[in-house]
């Protein structure tokens, strides 16, 4: 188990959110969409090197800009 950002893990990996860096506004937006501390998610896709990351949280599919993905610190299985 190691703590890295969502941008760093490979596709098709499950992970658990440990911390969300960044401003209050971003934390709130993610929280409202169901991404919060302790939440499990699955990384579905990562487009290009610095492109967006697609994740599955609960029953929703979310697309996050690369910058957002680097701010989500996770614990990979």
């Amino acid at each position: 188990m190691k703590k890295i950002s969502l941008a760093q893990i490979k596709m098709n990996r499950k992970a658990k959110v440990i911390e969300i860096l960044g401003g209050h506004n971003l934390q709130n937006r993610l929280m409202n969409m169901g991404v919060h501390k302790g939440r499990e998610l699955l990384k579905l896709s990562h487009i290009g090197l610095r492109g967006p990351v697609v994740i599955k949280v609960g029953r929703s599919i979310l697309a996050l800009g690369h910058g957002v993905a680097t701010k989500i610190i996770i614990e990979a299985e």
């Binding site: 596709m11 506004n25 971003l26 709130n28 937006r29 993610l30 929280m31 409202n32 969409m33 169901g34 919060h36 501390k37 579905l44 896709s45 990562h46 487009i47 290009g48 610095r50 492109g51 967006p52 697609v54 609960g58 029953r59 929703s60 599919i61 979310l62 697309a63 996050l64 800009g65 690369h66 910058g67 957002v68």
Partner: protein
């Protein structure tokens, strides 16, 4: 006493469809978050009373984090809580995420009634929700509906009066998610389902390699399909109608009209080789209807058919993911592709749709790029109609010039404008296959909108042209701009009139170029300039409203500069 009913819910849960069902007011609904950027209002008959119903933009939370959400929340607070009823619309297939807003509404003391929409889809996906249990836990009326088919709407209307404030402790964000977890455990049962073909397709379209291949395929097919349907309607339907029926009729009616004075000039225009030529005569009864119904309308129909199909299936947000990288270089993020695609139909809804972008900076960049580099369907149809006969090369050329212009301008704007553009954060909807009746209704609604807005302006435009040309009033303006247009762009001075009319409507302006006998090079430069230079008046007004005076002046100066540089460069570069 209920004075107002509000519809509130997460983005893309079908609020607008419920709204249409309740009020009979048709509004555009699509399968992506943020379709509703304007507040729609309608009326519902409830117990003999006429109550206003307001469709609010989608919001995930009452603690607003974007401007659209802010609007929704502030409207909700306009009236006293005991004078309103709030219909909270939820997506049954994703109850968990939707319940956050429901809990906030109840905690906030609003009289809420929950409407679990898309119940049929939830069933297909193996989601079973115990409505009774949910009512017991939340202490508010819960109704299961399927707004697309209308199921459950009657019950919803009957029970609106039961909406009442109930007491609930205010929770912190984290407590709320825990509470939602408990509710879900009691009221929702998931059946295990194998991956369906639809889910496999959903996955494929967001993966890096397969996604790009699919996007290329979809865009190519969409383009081919638009041309196929558009040309089909023209060749099989409108052209025969105009040439075999309308032309002989007009010629018969005007046969005895020997004196070809002002009125003849106004209604029929100039005869080409003694006959009416719909493309060149420029009369109120000849070229005006032909441009709108014979050249533009067929493509409006085919374009909106394909766009509506892609919208309702839910493909567009996936395209947004794939284009995020590219659009980032222009100071935008992937979701800007939605306003751009709408702008390809007509710049007005395109610029309105820039409201899905969060910052003012992004909205300025997107609106400016749309009004400069994204040609609307009427303009494109005319480009196909006039330039197409010289070969596909020239038509593709216009698109390439416009596309390069978007890239160059976007990069420059991104460098010089202060501030930064927010990151992409978007929910991707599942693929849906709405019934054809819904698609047909939306298509009809859009086409009706086009006809109502376009026809009067086209008639007015052709009328103005004819009066101005007949009394030689253009000569003054032509004289002033002739050195620029002739010297720099290499166009004849009569083209000044056409470029000026471009401010009224682009399709009429291109139509005016037809009788001038331009060379391919001149035609190419003229249509490119028409696309790039001033937007039409309708677009200009929307730009003004959306951006404010200061930014509109900036955008306008940019357009003029770009047109002059581009026209001059093209004139120098193209040799034939």
């Amino acid at each position: 006493m209920i004075k107002k009913i509000y519809l509130i819910g997460n983005p893309n849960v079908g609020k607008s469809v419920v709204f249409s069902r309740l009020t009979g007011v048709q509004v555009i609904s699509s399968n992506y978050p943020g379709t509703t950027v304007e507040i729609s209002k309608g009326y519902l008959q409830l117990g003999g009373e006429r109550i206003e119903v307001v469709d609010l933009p989608g919001t995930y939370s009452l603690e607003s984090t974007s401007s659209a959400e802010e609007v929704a929340v502030s409207l909700l607070k306009e009236y006293n809580k005991d004078e309103i009823a709030v219909i909270n619309i939820l997506d049954s297939t994703n109850l968990e995420r939707n319940l956050l807003l429901t809990l906030q509404l109840i905690e906030g003391g609003f009289p809420v009634i929950a409407c679990l929409n898309m119940c049929d889809e939830a069933g297909h996906r193996g989601v079973r929700i115990d409505i009774g249990k949910l009512e017991d836990i939340l202490h508010i009326p819960v109704i299961s509906t399927c707004a697309i088919t209308g199921a459950g709407i009657k019950l919803l209307i009957e029970r609106i009066k039961e909406a009442a404030a109930v007491f609930r402790d205010r929770l912190t964000h984290e407590e709320r998610w825990k509470e939602i977890g408990r509710i879900i455990e009691q009221a929702q049962h998931l059946e295990h389902r194998h991956h369906s073909l639809r889910e496999i397709l959903e996955d494929v379209s967001v993966r890096p390699v397969s996604g790009l291949i699919m996007a290329a395929g979809v865009i190519y097919a969409a383009f081919k399909f638009v041309r196929f349907i558009g040309e089909g309607i023209i060749n099989k339907f409108t052209d025969p109608l105009f040439i075999n029926f309308f032309q002989p009729l007009l010629e018969k009616l005007t046969f005895h009209w020997q004196e070809k004075g002002f009125w003849f000039h106004l209604l029929i225009g100039d005869l080409i080789n003694g006959k009416i030529d719909f493309k060149q005569s420029l009369g109120l009864l000849t070229t005006a209807p032909y441009i709108e119904f014979g050249m533009v309308l067929p493509y409006v129909i085919s374009f909106y058919f394909v766009l509506s199909l892609l919208e309702d299936i839910g493909y567009l947000p996936r395209l947004a993911i794939l284009l995020d990288n590219l659009l980032h270089r222009l100071g935008l993020h992937g979701y800007a592709i939605i306003p751009v695609l709408l702008g390809l139909g007509c710049n007005v809804p395109g610029i309105l749709a820039t409201r899905v972008l969060e910052s003012k900076r992004e909205r300025f960049i997107a609106s400016t790029l749309i009004s400069i580099g994204v040609p609307c369907v009427p303009l494109q149809a005319m480009i196909f109609g006039l330039l197409g006969k010289f070969g596909g090369f020239y038509v593709v050329g216009v698109y390439l010039v416009l596309f390069s212009l978007i890239l160059i301008l976007g990069t420059i704007l991104n460098r010089i404008l202060s501030g930064y553009s927010p990151e992409f954060l978007l929910e991707i909807p599942p693929y849906r296959f709405p019934p054809l009746t819904i698609l047909a209704r939306k298509l009809f609604f859009r086409i009706k909108g086009f006809v109502i807005e376009a026809v009067p302006v086209v008639l007015l435009g052709v009328l103005a042209i004819n009066v101005l040309l007949y009394f030689r009033l253009f000569d003054f303006v032509t004289g002033i701009f002739a050195p620029l247009v002739n010297g720099l762009f290499g166009l004849p001075k009569q083209a000044v009139a056409a470029l000026a009319i471009g401010f009224l409507r682009k399709d009429v302006a291109v139509g005016m170029l037809a009788p001038l006998g331009l060379s391919v090079k001149q035609l190419f430069i003229a249509v490119t300039l028409l696309a790039v230079s001033f937007p039409c008046i309708a677009t200009f007004i929307v730009l003004w409203k959306e951006l404010g005076v200061g930014d509109v002046i900036k955008a306008t100066l940019l357009m003029i500069t770009v047109s002059i540089i581009l026209g001059g460069t093209l004139n120098l570069l193209i040799l034939r």
